[in-house]
């Protein structure tokens, strides 16, 4: 930190820094060390706190990695070349943004991630959100669906419709969206180990409704690493999951090249599970590289896939560190992508960052304080140049969110953009001594974590060995200890405590939903053409066997045929389980 070496590429003229250095020294002697003089002007300050005392001995950055100085000055930007390092938005290395106009050209969508209870309740909520102006609906599937179990499976008992909607067959999809203009709304889902199935469900929904699937806008997260690093909704081994996920990428890049997003990588689980800001950057980039290379091995060129890819990050509480993180992530990506793929093609070197702000920092004790938290997280995302922001509801730490809290979350970016003018200019914090210094630090340390993963054999190996999980567990434990030692303050949790406000309204489950869903499933199973289902399932099994034997065979088309025949999610993944077996995550404490 604060390198004193002179650099020809620094932003300041020769001699200026020497003059500034002596200026700073005078400030330290005359102003900083004599703050007691201030005290005479404000006796209430120094009689309480004594002279020259800071409130705490050390000021740390949010993820605890950096000790922050009293003040940042031109001296901290000495080796930061304003052209090469900072640059301009829309050009390499994209520190200041991927788009030259940033928010001035970005229509912020109203985004909600929801889908709770019975499909009737969820449908009603989607309609409400649509009427409120939302044109982006991210569908949450329940856990049995995400792990490939039918609603009537004993494993699913008690979980049907709990954290999302139950999808047993294509019929559930058709019923849920029978009202929605498919060409006007962007849809998507997060199920990460069921990517080929999710693709089939959305594609066939269009087909059934007479809408050309290629004009639909569908976003699939299809991000298996996320499931092995915190989210936990995995089925097969990481290697098999990667293979299935990249089949989706191949299929979409080939047949649905317009509006479909085949995959993106989400770092929220890493960070929420205990990783630091720099780990989020380094690990996230290593994971993205692995996805691009997996598709590349199957013949998809990076310049075809990379432009549809994005890094979906969290926004934590330290406003400036997070802004620096987003800027550093774009810059580090630009450099690594250039090295790795040997190109200056902006389709590859410019990284699109989207954000789901930090639901992990929401507290249950005084839930309304969370509104302030997410507001700042959204601000950090905007100032950092995130291109899409999804906001959690303030009551998420208590229970599944209500319609009201979900709506408030969706409005937050609009208030910041339209009323606070946060998006009036691109990268408004660019050139701030502090933010540029932090950006340099995060890039430098992010690179170290990226190198660490590469040294372990890359992202897949880091997932398989439990390296990520161990880093997360260590970080989380340390964070918790900091709170308990009082070194880290969370208002409402370890400062300004009151009895919990219980008056907020919580979402209520519909306990009939499971019964109704099982009944619907039973009906479909009777009505469908059994011979076709059998045929499709055995074809699917054949593909799985080919894969297990090491042959390349894309699973998407046979999967689609099975879904079209109303094979259930449990039947489809049951067949694959027979061949691939089931994975068990390493137990790391």
């Amino acid at each position: 930190m604060g390198k004193k070496k002179k650099s020809a590429s620094g932003p300041f003229k020769k001699g200026f820094l020497e003059r500034f250095q002596s200026n700073l020294k005078n400030w330290e002697e005359d102003t900083l060390k004599k703050r007691v003089i201030d005290g005479e002007l404000r006796p209430e300050f120094w009689t309480k706190h004594g002279q020259k005392e800071k409130i705490k001995p050390e000021f740390k950055s949010g993820s605890g990695e950096y000790t922050i100085k009293e003040i940042y000055t031109p001296l901290d930007m000495n080796d930061t070349d304003p052209i090469k390092q900072i640059g301009l938005p829309g050009s390499y290395p994209y520190t200041r943004g991927r788009d030259p106009l940033g928010y001035q050209a970005l229509k912020i969508p109203l985004k909600f991630y929801s889908g709770y209870g019975s499909s009737e309740t969820a449908k009603q909520r989607y309609k409400t959100l649509y009427d409120a102006g939302s044109r982006f609906i991210l569908v949450a599937a329940d856990l049995p669906t995400q792990i490939g179990y039918d609603s009537d499976s004993p494993t699913a008992a008690g979980e049907v419709g709990k954290v999302g909607i139950a999808f047993d067959t294509l019929a559930d999809m058709e019923r849920l969206f029978d009202w929605m203009p498919l060409d006007k709304v962007q849809t998507g889902t997060v199920g990460n180990c069921i990517g080929p199935w999710a693709l089939s469900m959305f594609y066939l929904l269009g087909e059934k409704r007479g809408v050309d699937p290629s004009v639909m806008r569908v976003q699939l997260q299809n991000d298996p690493f996320k499931e092995y690093t915190g989210r936990g909704t995995y089925i097969f081994s990481p290697k098999i999951a990667m293979d299935l996920a990249s089949d989706v990428v191949v299929h979409i890049c080939k047949y649905l090249p317009n509006h479909w997003e085949p995959q993106y990588h989400c770092t929220t689980t890493l960070r929420w599970g205990g990783c630091s800001a720099t780990q989020e950057v380094g690990f996230g980039i290593a994971n993205l590289i692995a996805y691009i290379e997996a598709a590349q091995e199957k013949g998809v060129k990076p310049e075809v896939f990379a432009p549809r890819l994005n890094l979906h990050m969290t926004a934590d509480m330290d406003l400036f560190e997070e802004v620096a993180k987003f800027r550093a992530a774009r810059r580090l990506w630009a450099k690594i992508a250039r090295e790795r793929f040997g190109t200056d093609d902006p389709r590859i070197t410019s990284l699109r960052i989207t954000v789901y702000t930090g639901a992990n920092r929401l507290i249950a004790q005084q839930p309304l304080t969370n509104i302030v938290r997410v507001t700042i997280q959204v601000l950090a995302s905007m100032l950092g140049g995130a291109e899409s922001i999804t906001v959690p509801a303030y009551d998420e730490a208590l229970a599944l969110p209500t319609a009201e809290s979900t709506r408030l979350a969706g409005l937050t970016p609009h208030i910041l953009n339209d009323e606070c003018m946060a998006g009036n200019t691109s990268d408004p914090l660019g050139g701030s001594y502090y933010v540029e210094w932090l950006t340099n630090k995060v890039e430098e340390d992010g690179r170290k974590w990226y190198d660490a993963v590469e040294a372990k054999g890359g992202a897949l190996a880091a997932v398989e060995s439990g390296y990520y999980l161990q880093q997360m567990a260590d970080g989380m434990y340390e964070y918790q200890k900091e709170i308990e030692r009082g070194e880290r303050t969370i208002v409402g949790l370890n400062k300004f405590l009151v009895e919990t406000d219980e008056s907020i309204e919580l979402f209520k489950f519909d306990y009939e939903a499971e019964k109704n869903q099982i009944e619907r499933l039973r009906k479909i199973k009777i009505e469908r053409d059994h011979a076709t289902v059998e045929k499709c399932l055995s074809r699917l099994k054949q593909v799985a066997e080919n894969k297990a034997a090491g042959k390349q065979d894309n699973i998407v088309m046979p999967m689609m045929e099975a879904v079209r025949a109303y094979a259930t999610v449990g039947e489809i993944f049951g067949v694959l389980r027979e061949i691939f077996g089931e994975y068990r995550l390493p137990l790391i404490v």
């Binding site: 856990l143 008690g158 979980e159 995995y234 989380m476 995550l585 404490v589």
Partner: protein
């Protein structure tokens, strides 16, 4: 007197293990013997392991809203196995309104997000009437 033996598990299909891992580590650091089962455990798997390992206490971590079902199944199986000497505590996202019902089932303690790990340690020490070491 032996160490307190605790089993930590996540019943159901939810795989968010961060809280469960954190508690397991904190209890271990407090000197308890911790058996960590991880996620995707059925009540039967949990109770079977608890009996086999001879634990004093079972801690369930639940975020997905299945706390009532999971706790009642575990309590029932403990009763069926004459093992009600094993205490059950639950942590995670549990609406306050559900706490009385969990307590009626026989759940000894319910810990929400943001709980201090020392509180949990102290609670378990008192509950089991054992010192941690």
């Amino acid at each position: 007197m032996g160490k307190i033996r605790v089993l930590i598990a996540k019943p159901g299909l939810d795989g968010h293990e961060t809280g469960a891992r954190l508690i397991a580590r904190a209890l271990r650091d407090a000197g308890m013997e911790v058996i960590y089962l991880g996620a995707r455990q059925t009540p039967k798997m949990i109770v079977d392991s608890a009996l086999q390992e001879g634990v004093d206490l079972i801690g369930l971590s639940i975020l997905s809203g299945i706390h009532k079902e999971a706790a009642s199944s575990v309590m029932r199986m403990l009763e069926e196995n004459d093992a009600t000497h094993i205490s059950l505590v639950v942590g995670g996202i549990i609406p306050k309104a559900d706490v009385p019902e969990l307590k009626r089932m026989g759940v000894k303690g319910v810990f929400g997000p943001g709980t201090n790990t020392h509180q949990v340690v102290a609670f378990i020490n008192e509950l089991t009437g054992l010192s941690p070491k």
